[in-house]
Symmetry: C2
Subunit: 580 residues, 2 copies
């Protein structure tokens, strides 16, 4: 490609609404162009990156035996009504009406349509397993679209769906996909982690997120540097401390803590470690009748250490707490006779179930609210001052330094951007849509499903969050819009420069290198700034003076200085670097 | 690809709503699957064809210097309001509202968005010319979607838009595209014609349709077998007869024609050639004020020969007739004092402008209505019985045998399916959206535009309309979902068959051939029927008996019989056939 034929359009400043670095750099590098909130034109420079992502994904999906198809962007509501999602999903599902006033949706994902295809096409166990995927435009009407391609409304996703005859086969299909995803992410050339994720109501461990590591990532990733363990924050287990509960040393004492309603304030005020205090969280569950009316409610007290944070996913998995909510002030008053800020498990007005975090169950000489405004209790001890908890469970988010659940070291935490997800679905959709096949025993069986997504347009943004400096983007070779840029200096004045650039360009093209020749006749400073912003990884500068010495200048985007390379060796050097 | 890994799903019968052969065959071959009216899943077998179309189009567009980008499917209404199309377009423009009640459209085409991009990105004449294109999902909410991918609601289109500094440059860009389209259509391997088309209000001759020839085509294509001339019916000029007007031979006579209100009935009743009769068509135009109210109307009489049909596009191009309509009964009565069926240009109640077709102006002894129910006039002659017409013009559709407008023979007519269009737009959109650039003189100038479409998903349907037989589809090599299919007979029973098939499969794959190995263990009859229906052009059958003779059987989809080919030669034969 010659730059003059391409559309290169860099900006000195990012628009004011670009908050994160990938959004800023993609706008400045002319890769995307905003058309509306969360809706972007993929400009030529950006589309080249997206196409490279697509090509790698497609190649590995095909290699893993998945079969590509394309499902419509505009989908009739009927199928979405079959699974109930037409009504259940919020306004992020864009609902539309056609000229005949019939309901449609713009696909945010395609479980319904693919399950409809499978129930028609797959009649026998002999046709299984099957994995169908598409790389297609999706739309989610986000309430607050932002961060450019990171959280857009219109985006491109690769969504794959596996169909299997039984759970074992489905798990094997899942593993095939998980392995394919590792290959895909390896090929992208990004630092990433595949982390165990919560699999929701379906249960089991078959859910992994593929997270691109970036300091600016939205998600906390928990991993063990000494083992393979990695999970997202929702999923990562906090083990019980191995040391037994210390013996009580202090007597329980009612202490004034005027206006101190947080654990931090109380610990500071009493000059005690925060780790000695208890956080009392009051939640409730409702029992509803057929019509959804609340028949009765139950209140629970959750206790975690003052320096910890509650993990809502873990709490939601406890028996009876699947749909928990925080208790109302009335409910709190009913059980504690006190307002929040001074609650505690000792001396309840009306008894309730107490669930202690694993750590809390082993604490001694604790500090907690006295169920009286402006007072706390110190020196509180299990068994002596209050009964042992009704249940001991993992209620909290892990922190760096916690023991790894696999027993192989301690946990570290870094941040990531989720760009892929593999997920075992079970029969959730096949049951809702009656997608059966005839099993080997001649009887209809529900298909076991899995789903597997990759955010095709999100990935370039994540790559940039991970790989940039103050000059601009630094693409890995596999994702770069062009892998090599040739920068002839004043080719209009120096015939030898033009000739050398043209020769090298032709040679690289013939070798299949994705090269761009900057023939715009820009000044070197502006030209270099453009390519550093755009992030092309390999640059060759061809200048008259250097040519007279028989050399050109090579610089990798991460290099601080250029290296002189004999003209005869530059093509070879580039080819060997690109292969590496 | 191995068939067992792919999704092959053929049907014995087409669904009842499939009317045309391409729709039937694409459904039966499992290439598409209906999701709703005019909305189809592109199934794996069909998607492969679509991807091949895309790849050829993309390669030639890039080669012609066009630059690919992707514009959103969901587009904010504001830009469509700028050009007025948001209000002007009918319900085929699918309008939607997002969660904030803001208006959007699903793109049916992208002139507005691309012009918006150009007016921001292109500042100077130095950046011109530019040609931007996308291959992207479109939606047109057709009132009556039908014929499968031929007239769907959701479809894929390649739409390109050129931007130039002046008309000459725009015309050059147009010619580059027209040439690229010829290369594209040549590569598809289809019989097609590029036909001159009407360019609407913009004028000029820069509009060509690319029509795939098919007996079932919706459009009539006019061409000259002895020259390069080709045009669509709207555009094809009917020359004036070269012979002068014959002398009057008959006297004008009022003849009773009871109940005979059509030219055909009158000619039969009077036993005169239909070509001697006149068809009187009464049209009107309205002059409107600023608010759109009709200020005054004018009525016109158009005369064409009784055996001809009126060409509305040609009539609309006559001075003053741009927005003509057919006259009302009241207007007809006002000028003719008679009801339709017996109208004629002689003895008008109130005078009006008479426009005669070129043929009509040279007729003698004509038959026309007498402006009296149940009566006609015969022996009517210009000059003697009525004044010469106010205007003589080309008003009619050409017929086969008419002289070619280029003077090089006579016209023939065949039918075609429009799958591409190149069109010079001028400044229609750049003026509406104020898309200017700084010209060489430092002053802002409107961009000159062109637009260029190819119906990516329509093309496979057109290819099938052209290439099929009673067994199924016959793909040209370039479009086939697979170019070669290997059919081993009972490979589970004959190890040599399996081995030979696997060896040939590996050899062809290594040579880059798009081959599928049918490893489904189907009976030969069912297997052959599937591949004949799907239309893979080259088939190799590998059977135990033939292998013992050292041969396999090759059959092109158009061959009636298979040919025995030595095992050692089959790969070479296929490769040479695929190159040809």
């Amino acid at each position: 490609m010659k730059a003059s034929q391409f559309l290169i359009s860099t900006l000195k400043d990012a628009p004011a609404d670009a908050e994160v670095v990938s959004h800023k750099l993609m706008m400045r590098a002319g890769m995307i162009k905003k058309l509306g909130a969360g809706i972007y034109n993929y400009m030529p420079m950006g589309l080249r990156v997206i196409r490279k992502v697509e090509a790698i994904v497609r190649e590995e999906m095909n290699r893993a035996g998945a079969v590509e198809l394309t499902m419509p962007v505009v989908q009739p509501a009927e199928l979405w009504q079959e699974t109930g999602r037409f009504d259940k999903m919020g306004p992020e599902l864009l609902r539309i009406k056609d000229r005949h006033d019939r309901d449609f949706v713009i696909q945010p994902t395609s479980e319904e349509v693919v399950t409809d295809i499978a129930r028609q096409e797959i009649k026998s166990y002999k046709q299984l397993p099957k994995n169908l995927y598409q790389i297609q435009t999706k739309f989610r009407d986000e309430r607050r679209p932002r961060f450019g391609l990171m959280r857009g409304r219109e985006f491109i996703m690769k969504d794959a769906y596996s169909f299997d005859r039984d759970q074992d086969a489905a798990k094997a299909s899942y593993q095939v996909m998980a392995a394919a995803y590792r290959k895909i992410f390896d090929r992208f050339g990004l630092r990433y982690r595949a982390v165990a994720a919560d699999s929701g109501a379906i249960g089991g461990d078959l859910s992994e997120e593929f997270q691109v590591i970036a300091a600016t990532g939205e998600d906390a990733i928990v991993y063990c540097p000494d083992s393979e363990y990695a999970a997202n924050m929702e999923k990562a287990e906090a083990l019980a401390p191995t040391a037994p509960r210390a013996a009580a040393q202090a007597a329980m004492k009612r202490v004034a803590t005027p206006g101190k309603s947080t654990c931090e304030d109380v610990a500071t005020y009493l000059n005690l470690p925060l780790a000695q205090s208890l956080k009392s969280l009051v939640v409730a569950t409702d029992v509803r009748d057929d019509k959804g009316a609340v028949v009765k409610s139950q209140v629970w007290l959750l206790l975690i250490r003052g320096d910890r944070s509650m993990n809502e996913v873990k709490v939601g998995k406890l028996p009876g707490l699947a749909d928990f909510r925080f208790a109302t002030l009335a409910e709190i008053d009913e059980h504690f006779g006190c307002e929040p800020g001074y609650l505690g498990p000792v001396g309840l007005k009306k008894p309730l179930k107490v669930i202690a975090d694993r750590e809390v169950a082993l604490m001694a000489d604790m500090v907690c609210g006295a169920n009286e405004v402006d007072y706390h209790l110190s020196g509180v001890n299990w068994g002596r001052d209050l009964p042992e908890p009704d249940l001991v469970a993992d209620l909290r988010n892990v922190v760096a330094g916690d023991a790894s659940p696999d027993g192989k070291g301690v946990l570290a935490i870094e941040r990531g951007i989720e760009v892929g997800h593999v997920f075992y679905l079970g029969t959730k959709y096949s049951k809702a849509m009656n997608a059966t096949f005839l099993g080997e025993n001649g009887k209809p069986q529900f298909m076991e499903m899995g789903c597997y997504g990759i955010g095709i347009t999100r990935l370039p943004a994540a790559a940039i969050e991970q790989n940039h400096d103050d000059k601009g983007i630094i693409w890995p070779d596999a994702l770069a819009p062009f892998t090599v840029v040739l920068c002839p200096i004043s080719p209009d004045r120096f015939a030898d420069v033009k000739a050398a650039a043209d020769t090298l360009y032709a040679e690289l093209l013939a070798a299949g290198v994705d090269v761009i020749l900057d023939d715009r006749n820009e000044r070197p400073g502006a030209m270099f700034a453009d390519w550093e912003l755009i992030g092309v990884p390999h640059r060759v500068t061809i200048g008259d003076r250097a040519l007279k010495e028989g050399v050109v200048e090579y610089q990798h985007r991460r290099d601080t200085e250029a290296t002189k390379v004999p003209v005869a060796e530059i093509a070879g050097l580039l080819l060997s670097r690109l292969k590496a």
